[in-house]
């Protein structure tokens, strides 16, 4: 029997028992689907993170009081906050910096007439716009007078602008943040969701001094964002800043830092380690489903061989060789598994398209993994179909013909 005939025969047998076949395939479908989703979304997320970081610049350091996300207890409430002087000190005594942006922020209410929105209020200097890569959509950033005097002026993110002003230009208009009236001097171009899913445009930016005096009522700086000159090692700058801050905060040798300098690499690492855990988990799920799927195929094929004992006897009697019977059942198992694989690939790709849209990462089609998944499901068919096929081929034709 030529392979094509055997394939057609297998296909017909599988389609004839459509329900049983689809239930048998389920394990393979889930396994392959999981692999496809995992790889497609995983590479989408990686591309997104890489893009975001290259947009942000990988040369950015975040200096914060308290411990980093990896330290015991997370951010310590007791840690002394920074002051503007700390940012100045970094600017003056650390070499290789492009900009130093001290910031402070809090949650607040933006109000215009009857419209209002809870949003993030950020107090910044103009360096902030540089280090975070913000572009103006309209109007201007702050001028020196506004920064020094702590004037009540603000620059709006797209989300806040749309919520409060709709399509009307807000430039020069007055609005309130909490109880304080602000004049809008500029609007920002949209940046969309951050890598971690936050809406970055949901923000009102005001001068740091204004923030400290009128909103926070203190002189605290929450966060110092440092942008390193191109070609300068962020690691070296990080060490310099750590040394400087230990000195300024009078931390004795052997004592732990009560602040933390994070660079983008660390943030990426955090993200990557999360992805790695997810990938490992999904791989385990995929592996288990493929195994279960394989066992399902073996089980179905065993039942099929028993049910078709008389057919096998007939085939052997009229002149089928044992290898031909073996091949027939093996091909059936492989076709079953491969159908499951194809279904899993299609479902996986479909789910990936939706999933990519849902979590805001690009959909990246990986032909390599699709081919691999297909061949792997075929291999599962061979591995788990061999035993039943072997059983079929070893039947004694005389007994098989008499089988009830």
């Amino acid at each position: 029997m030529i392979l094509w005939e055997i394939y057609l025969l297998a296909q017909r047998t599988i389609l004839r028992n459509a329900l049983r076949s689809s239930l048998t395939m389920l394990g393979i479908v889930i396994g392959v689907g999981a692999v496809i989703i995992m790889v497609t979304l995983g590479s989408g997320a990686t591309v997104k993170v890489t893009q975001d970081i290259s947009k942000l610049g990988s040369d950015i350091l975040y200096v914060r009081p308290g411990l980093g996300p990896h330290g015991p207890g997370g951010v310590r409430a007791a840690s002394k906050p920074f002051e503007l002087a700390d940012a100045r000190a970094i600017e003056n005594s650390v070499a290789g910096l492009r900009a130093v942006a001290p910031t402070a922020d809090t949650a607040g209410q933006a109000i215009l007439g009857s419209a209002n929105r809870s949003t993030t209020i950020s107090g910044v200097t103009n360096a902030y716009f540089t280090v975070q890569g913000w572009q103006l959509a309209d109007g201007r950033f702050f001028n020196d007078a506004e920064l020094k005097a702590g004037k009540s002026v603000c620059v709006l993110g797209q989300t806040v602008q749309k919520e409060l002003f709709g399509t009307v230009s807000p430039i020069g208009k007055a609005m309130r943040v909490g109880k304080i009236s602000f004049k809008v001097v500029g609007t920002l171009q949209s940046k969309g969701a951050s890598t971690f899913g936050q809406d970055q445009d949901d923000v009102i930016v005001i001068p740091l001094r204004t923030f400290q005096r009128r909103i926070a009522g203190n002189t605290d700086v929450r966060n110092i964002i440092v942008s390193v000159e191109p070609g300068v090692s962020t690691q070296a700058v990080k060490t310099d800043i750590e040394g400087l801050m230990r000195e300024r905060r009078m931390i004795k040798a052997g004592q732990d830092d009560d602040f933390h300098v994070r660079d983008m690499k660390e943030i990426i690492d955090t993200f990557t380690s999360t992805t790695t855990i997810m990938t490992a988990l999904l791989s385990a799920v995929a592996g288990v489903s493929l195994l279960v799927g394989g066992i399902g195929i073996m089980n179905t094929m065993m039942v099929s061989v028993t049910e078709r004992t008389r057919e096998i006897g007939t085939r052997l009697a009229i002149g089928a060789m044992r290898e031909e019977v073996l091949l027939q059942f093996l091909v059936e198992a492989v076709v079953l598994a491969a159908f499951g694989g194809i279904l899993g690939i299609l479902l996986g790709l479909g789910a990936s398209v939706l999933g990519a849209r849902l979590i805001g990462v690009p959909f990246i089609f990986k032909p390599g993994i699709v081919a691999l998944a297909f061949f792997f499901s075929g291999a599962v068919g061979i591995a788990f179909g061999y035993l039943p096929a072997q059983k079929a081929a070893q039947l004694d034709p005389i007994e098989a013909l008499r089988y009830e």
């Binding site: 029997m1 009229i318 002149g319 089928a320 034709p397």
Partner: protein, 233 residues
């Protein structure tokens, strides 16, 4: 591999064929030193009480089973020297089988059932279809080609089985109680068909039967008893 024997020449020769089933205390001598010669074009009936070894003998003739002792010559081939695969090739090219239980593939059309042996001869689909249609017409079932066995009567099913056995123009047709599941009218129909194939196409037929009426169609009747041939008429 096999030279064609002319009509009337010896085609099958069993010499001292013995078949022993089981081991130790529980052995059964299903066949006990059988000598039998069947000529090309003969129609032979095997008779005898239950358990006398008829089916065992037929299975050996069909190369489905091998004797414990003795020799089996088919045309110019010593069958005991053939491998399993070579026996399969011998079956597919020179032997046709009809079983008591028909053994058609269910949920498969009559036509495809008849095509089955030709698939293993690696015949093209068109050639297969043509030969199978002709074989079905020969047994009077041309109009039933698309029906599955469950849509056919017992007599029709056995006729499909005959068409399947004969579609490849075998040298020998082996039938184990081909009328065992049929009433007397259907049995007569089947027997007349076998006689016709035997006469027109010169196909050698070896048939096991319990019924003297059926055995009467044959040229020779071989009586089995306790694993030996008691009489040949």
């Amino acid at each position: 591999m096999i030279a064609t024997a002319a009509r009337g020449e010896d085609l099958i020769e069993l010499r001292g064929v013995t078949k022993i089933y089981g081991e130790g205390q529980a052995t059964v001598r299903a066949l006990d030193g059988i000598d039998l010669t069947i000529r090309q074009g003969e129609f032979v009936a095997m008779m005898g009480p239950s358990g006398s070894g008829k089916s065992t003998c037929l299975n050996i003739l069909g190369c489905l089973d091998s004797p414990s002792q003795g020799s089996y010559r088919f045309a110019d081939v010593q069958v005991e020297h053939l491998s399993l695969d070579q026996r399969a090739v011998l079956r597919r090219n020179f032997l046709g089988f009809i079983f008591q239980g028909f053994n058609l593939l269910n949920r498969t059309s009559a036509l495809e059932n008849v095509e089955l042996p030709l698939i293993y001869r690696r015949m093209t689909a068109r050639k297969r279809r043509e030969l199978a249609m002709r074989a079905l017409a020969d047994v009077g079932l041309a109009d039933w080609a698309d029906h599955t066995p469950s849509e056919l009567s017992g007599g029709q099913q056995q006729r499909v089985a005959i068409a399947r056995a004969l579609v490849g123009r075998p040298k020998v047709l082996l039938a184990d109680e081909p009328t065992g599941n049929l009433d007397s009218a259907r049995s007569k129909e089947v027997m007349e068909m076998l006689v016709e194939f035997n006469q027109r196409q010169g196909i050698t037929i070896v048939m096991v039967t319990h019924e003297p009426d059926m055995a009467a169609y044959a040229h020779r009747q071989i009586q089995f008893r306790d694993g030996i041939i008691e009489a040949i008429q």
